[in-house]
C-alpha cells in the first residue's frame, strides 16, 4: 500500500496549492494513507461515529466560522476529542486564521496543519486529482507501447520475438513510440495510462546494432510521453497446432490492474509483416468504437443469404 508523507506532499505541491506550514516540523513526519478528502463538519459538531479520520481533513470558511461560534471550553473539548483520532493532516483554505487553541492542540497531539491560500473549491478539486493520481494502482510490465492512428497498443511477448523491430517498422510508418521494453501502467478513471518508467529519453535496443535514439532518428513527432492503452497484442511464435482467431466474433480480455483490456494473440513467423497487422488491429478498434463490428456484419449478411436460399428452396 502506497503512503504519502505530509512533508513530501508539502514539498511537491506547495507552489500549486499556495501552501504554508503552521505546526511544528515534527508534525510533517505524519503519514497519509488514504487518497480521499474529508470535511469534518459533523465531527466538529460532536458526532464522532464513522469519522473518516485517516483522510486529509479540509476546513473551509463554513467550518472555521462554526468553530468561532463555539465557547472556548467546548471548542477545546471538541478539538481534543477529534484530535485523539490519528488525523494525519488538516488543511485550512482561503488563508483563514486558525484559532490559537487549535494550533496549540495540534502541536501537542502531533497533528499537522497546513494553510492554503486557495479557495475551498479550487483546493478540493486540485487535491482530489493529485491524490487520485498519487494513490492510483500502478505496475510496470515488459512490453513496448506504441500509438497507432491514435490507438494505444501494448505489444507483449517473449524476449527476442520482435517487439522492438515491430515498433521500428511502425515508426517508419509515422506512428509513435511511448516506451520500449518497460511500460509503466497506471489505472486512472477506469482507463489504463501507459508511460515510460524514466525520463532518460526514447532509447531503444536493436539486436545486433545496439542502442539507438528514436527521438533523434525519427524526430519529435515519432515520440509521445503517454497514451491510453486501448488494446494489447501478444506476439507468439507461430505453432501449427494452436488455434488462432479466424473470424473475430469472440473478444478476449486480460485483467490489468482491475481493468479488462482487450487482447489479441498474434502469431508471428519470419518474413511476416506484423506492423501492417497492427495497423489493421488499430483501425478495427476504431471501427468497433464507432459501433461497427466487421465479423458481426458479415455474419448477419451471410445469415440473410442463407435464409433467402432456404426460402427459395422451399417454394
Amino acid at each position: 500500500m502506497k503512503i504519502l508523507h505530509v512533508k513530501e506532499f508539502f514539498e511537491t505541491m506547495n507552489k500549486d496549492f499556495a501552501l504554508s506550514v503552521l505546526t511544528d516540523p515534527k508534525t510533517m513526519e505524519n503519514v497519509i494513507q488514504e487518497g480521499h478528502l474529508h470535511r469534518p463538519g459533523l465531527a466538529l459538531s460532536g458526532y464522532m461515529e464513522r469519522f473518516a479520520y485517516k483522510r486529509i481533513q479540509v476546513l473551509g470558511e463554513t467550518e472555521i466560522s462554526y468553530i468561532q461560534t463555539l465557547p472556548a471550553e467546548l471548542l477545546y473539548e471538541r478539538l481534543k476529542e477529534m484530535f485523539e483520532f490519528n488525523i494525519p493532516l488538516i488543511i485550512v483554505t482561503k488563508g483563514l486564521s486558525v484559532p490559537q487553541q487549535m494550533e496549540y492542540l495540534a502541536n501537542e497531539m502531533n497533528i499537522a496543519i497546513i494553510l492554503s491560500r486557495l479557495s475551498t473549491d479550487r483546493l478540493i478539486s486540485g487535491l482530489t486529482r493529485y491524490l487520485r493520481m498519487y494513490f492510483a494502482p500502478q505496475k510496470s510490465i515488459h512490453g513496448t507501447l506504441v500509438e497507432v492512428y491514435g490507438v494505444g497498443i501494448l505489444l507483449t511477448g517473449k524476449s527476442g520475438i520482435g517487439k522492438s523491430e515491430c515498433a521500428l517498422d511502425l515508426l517508419e510508418r509515422r506512428h509513435r513510440l511511448i516506451s520500449d521494453d518497460v511500460v509503466r501502467i497506471t489505472h486512472t478513471d477506469d482507463r489504463l495510462e501507459g508511460t515510460s518508467v524514466n525520463d532518460i529519453g526514447y532509447f531503444m535496443e536493436v539486436r545486433g546494432v545496439g542502442l539507438i535514439d528514436v527521438e533523434r532518428m525519427y524526430g519529435i513527432h515519432a515520440v509521445q510521453k503517454k497514451t491510453t492503452i486501448d488494446t494489447q497484442i501478444e506476439l507468439l511464435l507461430w505453432q501449427d497446432n494452436i488455434d488462432y482467431e479466424r473470424i473475430g466474433l469472440t473478444n478476449n480480455y486480460v485483467n490489468v490492474l482491475g481493468v479488462n483490456l482487450p487482447i489479441i494473440y498474434l502469431p508471428v513467423s519470419p518474413g511476416k509483416n506484423v506492423s501492417v497487422i497492427i495497423e489493421v488491429v488499430a483501425l478495427n478498434h476504431i471501427l468497433k468504437n464507432f459501433g461497427y463490428e466487421a465479423a458481426e456484419v458479415y455474419q448477419r449478411k451471410l445469415q440473410e443469404r442463407i435464409n433467402l436460399k432456404s426460402r427459395e428452396r422451399s417454394q
Binding site: 510496470s140 515488459h142 518497460v182 518508467v197 532518460i200
Partner: protein, 88 residues
C-alpha cells in the same frame, strides 16, 4: 520458481556494461528471469529493461527465475554480482 535477493556491490551500480553482461549471461539459460527493484519489475533478458532499473550501489534487487534451469541461472547471476562484474 526460484527467488533470491541480492545487493549491488560495484561502485558504479548497474551501468551499461554490467547490464550487458547480466543480460548475456541470463540469455544463455532457457528459464525466464525477472528482476525486481521496488515496485518495478523488468525482464532480465532485456538490456533496456535492466538498464532502466538504474540500480545504484547498495540497492537491493530480487531475482525471480522460472524454468528448467532456474537454479543454475540464479547461481551464475549471483556470481556476477559477487564478483562486481569484474570491475573492481
Amino acid at each position: 520458481m526460484k527467488k533470491k535477493t541480492i545487493v549491488v556491490k560495484n561502485k558504479l551500480g548497474l551501468h551499461a556494461r554490467p547490464c550487458a553482461l547480466l543480460v548475456k549471461t541470463a540469455s544463455k539459460f532457457r528459464s525466464d528471469l525477472m528482476i525486481k527493484k521496488g515496485n518495478m519489475e523488468v525482464n532480465g533478458k532485456s538490456i533496456m529493461g535492466v538498464m532502466m532499473l538504474a540500480a545504484e550501489q547498495d540497492s537491493e534487487l530480487e531475482l525471480i527465475a522460472n524454468g528448467v534451469d532456474e537454479e543454475y541461472l540464479i547461481i551464475e547471476i549471483e556470481n556476477l554480482f559477487e564478483n562486481r562484474f569484474d570491475e573492481e
